[in-house]
Symmetry: C2
Subunit: 255 residues, 2 copies
């Protein structure tokens, strides 16, 4: 299986602290060594980094740990291949354009016997079940709405689509269009909302501590979603199985 990391914030925020702990799971504190990737929205624009080297060794991952790219929506993934060979085109997150916006998707899980027909214009480049289901999600969103709908409408449609996919296996995913972060859990997914007053946090996967109050303003709100809690001294909330949540401006929206 793979691991997922997502961030949604109300102000451009760097993810270096979380990513540093997360990347340790690519061989040091866990065995997710079959590639990794991360995507940062900057407004409508996107920086997308993928690598089939493990995140603990990759020079690109080293850049991400050192270079504080500020973003309001980030999705990262470290891969342990279940379907599809180890190759660049099979690294998550995947990107497509729909309605003049980039969409970014990463999946943790395994979908058995779910290869829905792709009869429209989104097709996988690689060979994973994950990219196939992302293309199907894009196809069905595109069929359901003539143009970009509101976040609320998108959430309703995504809930229906996720419920059709989830019975086929394990379907933990993160999805963002740069405005919101959608997160769906089948098995393991946790989130935290950080806001004023900010405190110190201690990584689980590496001996590193940060004092968020030194790097934030009282207005900042940041939500982080991850496969397993990243810090040892904060309260993370577990998703229920089958639950989808949407994060906007650093806050989980009412269901």
């Amino acid at each position: 299986m793979c691991q997922l990391l997502g961030m949604n914030a109300n102000t451009p925020t760097d993810v270096t602290f979380s990513f540093t702990g997360f990347a340790q799971r690519a061989g040091n504190t866990a065995d997710h060594t079959d590639g990794w990737g991360i995507a940062f929205f900057e407004g409508r624009g996107l920086r997308h980094f993928v690598d089939h080297e493990r995140a603990t060794d990759s020079p690109v991952a080293e850049l991400i740990r050192r270079y504080p790219i500020k973003s309001r929506n980030v999705i990262a993934h470290i891969r342990k291949a279940t379907q599809g060979v180890v190759s660049l085109e099979n690294c998550h997150p995947f990107v497509r354009e729909l309605w003049g916006r980039y969409w970014v998707f990463a999946h943790n899980g395994d979908l058995k016997d779910f290869r829905p027909r792709l009869h429209a214009h989104f097709h996988p480049v690689g060979t994973t079940d994950s990219e196939h289901v992302f293309c199907w999600l894009m196809q069905e969103l595109s069929k359901s709405h003539a143009g970009m709908p509101s976040i609320e409408e998108l959430t309703l449609t995504l809930r229906e689509l996720a419920a059709r996919i989830a019975p086929h296996g394990t379907f933990n995913f993160l999805l963002s269009n740069g405005q919101a972060l959608w997160a769906h859990a089948s098995t393991h997914l946790y989130y935290i909302e950080r806001r004023h007053p900010f405190s110190q946090a201690q990584l689980c996967d590496e001996d590193l501590r940060v004092d968020f109050s030194a790097h934030t303003t009282p207005n900042d709100k940041v939500a982080v979603v991850v496969t397993a809690p990243l810090t040892s001294n904060e309260q993370w909330t577990a998703f229920q199985s089958g639950e989808m949540r949407v994060f906007v401006d650093g806050q989980c929206q009412a269901a």
Copy 2:
């Protein structure tokens, strides 16, 4: 105006030497300071780096100069904004998926009064004429062929499409799907084919020399296409105005 750099090779080859000289044009030897980008195919997979910082300062460009990513098809661009603000979503090259392949496009020029209707499923995320025309090219390719055609068929279609666009302004572009590199010139574009016996080359934009014979095998073939010659001691061939060439396996194909 902007500058273009493309590479097509028959074996995975790094572009660090060419990119090092090229990146100097982002503020040192020329004034293309409004962002930059580079895309490397690895098989069907793609590494895509864009940055609105100038390439001489960008930490990501520094990574690309130091980290020899090997690829058979590369497209790079440094931007001097003519249309569209300086922002990440307006940095070239642009990427879209068609027929289960990534397509990468970069443009140097300016198209006046050419905003053809986008009635299908490719839409610009940013505000440049360049991304608009790329979406139109993808739309028209998609309409012309039901599935991925041969390189020869694609070249015929692209020639027709380019001839419809070129009268509207300056239209130098590079396009690749990871199998071939298409290059079209309105004004300035040069190419070189390097093969056995390889020799030394001296950059124009920086005091740097490389001995290709030390880094190659006798079977290697590498073609480089660029807005202005990168080296001072090699013979570069100028494109004619209105000419489109296609490079496969490091060689320019017969017209």
